[in-house]
């Protein structure tokens, strides 16, 4: 596997413009002759489909949902970053670039991050133009809020539903192309394989989730916009259907998988309440603008929070990080919560929680103002916990949320397989080892609205394509392989449900590969995962038929892939013997307990290449060089 990032030459400010000029174009009248297959309809997929459709390409969109509007981008709450500097507080493209590289603990590719910061402003312009109802001031101009890891207010928002509003914006742009005839949507299809011909990605195999039939679709390029893999931990803030299967299928067809161990644990989620738990609910990071995080100063203090006097509270983030206070980046806030809980200061029935307290903000701004900004989050908190957070503090605890790792892509967002692109959270992207809040929405839309239209056109214009038919051997072989796997699953007829086995895997991942990782815990996980996987294939219970709407089979297929992928994640975590961002190796920390990077040995993206079933994956490295930003210890003190 050769890793050529194809970073354009020249000064960083000029790279994207000159690259766009150098990319080949496709004549407008020829575009409809090219079929582009977009898998996934979240921010990245919907925006890519919309913009490629606007250009005149023939686009097919596949989603496992009943409607493209339900992709998990919809659940993003807090906001989207852009370097507009409307508040006049010193923001700039350069500062957003700098904050993102630093926030990612210097494990992202400079050129990509700079482009992301450049495009950020166009995203806001475009989304406002297509009718996204952003929050506004009385002047009628756009409003901003602050988010973690930045000292400027650059986050645009639509109440606590920014992901919903941006996704519905991208969805509406895509539906316009449906009406125009350039985009066709195929809902309730799960991608099960990528089909290659002569080394190029030329199609996909999908399973129709209503009928169970396998379908082949051919095209000139395939765009995977299939999101992240936080559900490898079983319990996460991700929706139930989020999975690694499409990315994993691509990996098995030769796409390099980069930095799988870079997973983000979000600091502010509602703590788990029992074994029955099916998901963890996020309370937006924007709450840290007005909420103060604390625990009692005394261990095991079981008094109700209102009865604990000010002097007996430890506002540990403000104490440890005076410059950023409650707005430190996610990885730091999560680890700090774990540290206090592990030391016996945790609160609530499980003692695995800390307080997020709005008392002072309510006193300062009034309950109505707080309700205006975060009302839906307080309502959600009440519905889940039966507690009123206007009266007593929220209890929160970290939970798996996002994956910075993903399919390796070059500057064009193309994987190591020609014609196979990965956009949004599905790629290893721009966030390095830790993503800053409000940057996922920015990246999904940057990739889909602005990068892919240029680079996918460039690929189509520069390459020759042999005619393919879905009757070709490559397609029928792929369908046969998928069908064999389905048959094997149905033949097990075991006793444990896919959900139980997923929980077993998730417990190992959370306990041994979660917020703190060490050589010992990782080696333990590497021993346990193959055992659980073996049990899965011997003992999974699936009822019903293959050619049917069979949700148990769907779940089992996803869990089967997590059983394989988890092992690669752990190997990557073991290999990366340094702490950086969300990846915290207990062996590698400063005397104060902060993450300690090892730039001499690990300033690279670790890219894994599939070598066949039962064989060890091969490790390749893309060296990261920093010409514009000086690498430093990441300090938020």
């Amino acid at each position: 596997m050769k890793l050529d990032a194809k970073i354009p030459a020249g000064p960083i400010e000029k790279k994207w413009d000159s690259h766009k000029f150098n990319l080949k174009l496709v004549n407008p009248s020829n575009r409809r002759k090219y079929d582009v297959l977009v898998v996934g309809s979240g921010l990245a997929g919907a925006s890519a489909a919309a913009s490629l459709g606007e250009l005149g390409f023939n686009v097919k969109v596949f989603t496992l949902h009943d409607s493209t509007r339900r992709a998990h981008s919809i659940a993003a709450q807090g906001g989207i970053n852009a370097a507009k500097n409307y508040p006049n507080d010193g923001d700039s493209v350069w500062r957003l670039f700098h904050d993102t590289v630093k926030g990612g603990d210097y494990r992202a590719r400079e050129a990509n991050v700079y482009r992301l910061a450049q495009i950020s402003n166009q995203i806001i312009d475009h989304c406002a133009a297509i009718g996204v109802p952003f929050g506004r001031e009385y002047s009628g101009l756009l409003s901003n809020r602050s988010f973690g890891g930045a000292q400027v207010s650059r986050t645009f928002y639509s109440r606590g539903q920014t992901g919903q509003q941006l996704l519905l914006g991208a969805y509406s742009a895509m539906m316009r192309q449906v009406a125009a005839g350039t985009v066709t949507i195929l809902p309730r299809r799960e991608m099960t394989d990528v089909v290659l011909k002569n080394g190029q990605a030329r199609g996909i195999t999908v399973r129709n989730l209503l009928t169970g039939e396998l379908e082949s679709h051919s095209g000139h390029a395939v765009l995977l916009c299939t999101g992240g893999y936080a559900n490898v931990f079983n319990l996460s803030t991700n929706a139930g259907s989020c999975n690694v299967s499409a990315a994993w299928a691509a990996y098995k067809r030769g796409a390099g998988f980069a930095n799988p161990c870079f997973t983000q644990i979000h600091p502010t989620c509602i703590p788990r309440s029992g074994e029955h738990q099916s998901k963890l609910t996020l309370m937006s990071e924007s709450l840290r603008n007005d909420g103060r995080v604390w625990v009692p100063k005394a261990k095991g203090d079981k008094r109700p929070p209102q009865d604990i006097p000010e002097a007996e509270r430890d506002y540990y983030l403000e104490r440890r990080y005076p410059a950023f206070g409650n707005l430190v980046p996610r990885d730091i806030a999560s680890r700090a919560a774990k540290t206090v809980a592990d030391s016996g200061y945790g609160v609530g029935p499980s003692s695995q929680a800390v307080y997020l307290d709005f008392r002072d903000s309510i006193k300062r701004k009034g309950e109505n103002k707080i309700k205006d900004e975060y009302g839906n989050l307080f309502d959600m908190y009440y519905q889940i916990t039966d507690e009123n957070a206007y009266k007593s503090p929220m209890r929160i605890y970290p939970a798996p949320h996002y994956s910075m790792g993903g399919l390796w892509v070059d500057y064009n967002l193309m994987t190591t397989v020609p014609g196979l692109f990965a956009l949004g959270e599905a790629n290893f992207s721009d966030h390095g080892a830790n993503r800053l809040g409000a940057s996922a929405l920015m990246q999904g839309l940057a990739d889909g609205f602005f990068v892919a239209p240029s680079t996918v056109s460039g690929y189509l214009g520069a390459n020759k394509f042999e005619a393919v038919s879905t009757g070709d051997k490559e397609f029928t072989d792929s369908s046969k392989q998928v069908q064999d796997r389905v048959n094997r699953l149905l033949a097990v007829k075991g006793k444990k449900t896919p959900a139980e086995l997923h929980r077993q895997l998730g417990n190992v991942m959370w306990n041994d590969v979660g917020m703190g990782r060490s050589e010992a815990t990782l080696k333990k996980a590497l021993k346990k995962i193959p055992e659980i996987r073996e049990e899965f294939w011997k003992n999974v219970a699936i009822s019903g038929a293959d050619r049917d709407f069979n949700q148990t089979l769907e779940k089992a297929m996803k869990v089967a892939d997590f059983m394989e992928f988890s092992e690669l994640l752990v190997k990557d975590a073991l290999e990366r013997n340094e702490s950086c961002g969300g990846h915290f190796r207990e062996e590698s920390c400063t005397p104060e307990g902060e993450a300690k990077r090892d730039d001499a040995n690990f300033s690279h993206a670790a890219v894994w290449e599939y070598q066949g079933e039962g064989k060890e994956a091969a490790l390749h490295k893309e060296a990261l060089t920093f010409e514009n930003i000086k690498m430093a210890e990441r300090s938020y003190k």
């Binding site: 297509i130 139930g240 029935p349 889940i384």
Partner: protein
């Protein structure tokens, strides 16, 4: 979480093997229900039990389980999305029930949403209504600076109220006429309230209303059921606005 004693309930669920198959209500006992469980987690437990017994689990849809994706939708004891006001069924918790309760669970039942299997229905009609005009026709890259077009704050807030729709279809299923007018009215309103939606207002109202009629949705007779069950508290004022937009478009549009 308050955490109190676990209890048992009986679930009476609609079972239907496929779109053309006959359906019936079937009762199941669910033991060891925690008050902190969500309603859907209770169904998960029931389904895992069924699976272990070699029976077919109940098909129902859900995804985000935080009330925003719009995938879930059940009629619980006759209430669309369950007894809680302005909430999706995924946010309903078992603390609202007591030991020994019999809980009836049914799918959305309305002409425009045919049943696919058990509690899952086909809501693709809603997507086709949006494709008829629920958008602003601006190509990517063509926009001016976002602050070049100020939007009155109150108007922006009102647009956001309408835009909060999650497309779950509760409004349709609660309506005695199976009308899709709250859903369609919300999108028409959002874009009519914003200056960005201005140029296409008339065309949008005409084509979205035509699409709605074509999909087999009924008409509004002011029952207000839709507003009562809407998880996002979307107001019937949006239907009035849609009617106004439609009327004006008919009177003055050259189409």
């Amino acid at each position: 979480m308050k955490g109190s004693k676990h209890f048992s309930v009986t679930v009476r669920a609609w079972r239907q093997a496929g779109p053309a198959e006959p359906g019936k209500m079937v009762s199941y006992k669910v033991k060891d229900v925690s008050p902190d469980m969500s309603f859907l987690e209770m169904l998960d437990i029931l389904n895992d039990d069924l699976l272990k017994k070699g029976e077919t689990p109940i098909t129902f849809e859900s995804d985000c389980r935080e009330g925003i994706c719009g995938s879930c939708g059940l009629v619980v004891n006759g209430d669309v999305h369950g007894p809680d006001e302005h909430s999706t069924v995924c946010q309903l918790h078992m603390r609202r029930f007591s030991d020994g309760d019999v809980i009836t669970v049914e799918p959305w039942r309305v002409k425009a949403f045919p049943i696919l299997k058990d509690l899952a229905v086909d809501r693709s009609a809603l997507d086709r209504v949006i494709a008829a005009g629920g958008f602003v026709s601006v190509n990517t890259g063509a926009a001016a600076d976002a602050n070049a077009t100020p939007v009155e704050k109150d108007k922006a807030e009102e647009a956001m109220d309408a835009a909060a729709c999650i497309g779950c279809g509760a409004c349709v299923t609660s309506c005695p006429n199976g009308a899709g007018m709250l859903f369609t009215g919300a999108k028409i309103s959002q874009l009519a309230l914003l200056p960005q939606g201005g140029p296409e207002r008339a065309k949008r109202a005409l084509s979205m209303v035509a699409a709605m009629d074509k999909e087999g949705f009924g008409n509004c007779t002011n029952e207000y059921e839709c507003e009562a069950v809407c998880p996002k508290d979307i107001k019937v004022a949006n239907i009035a606005r849609m009617n106004r937009e439609f009327l004006l478009a008919n009177l003055f549009s050259k189409r």
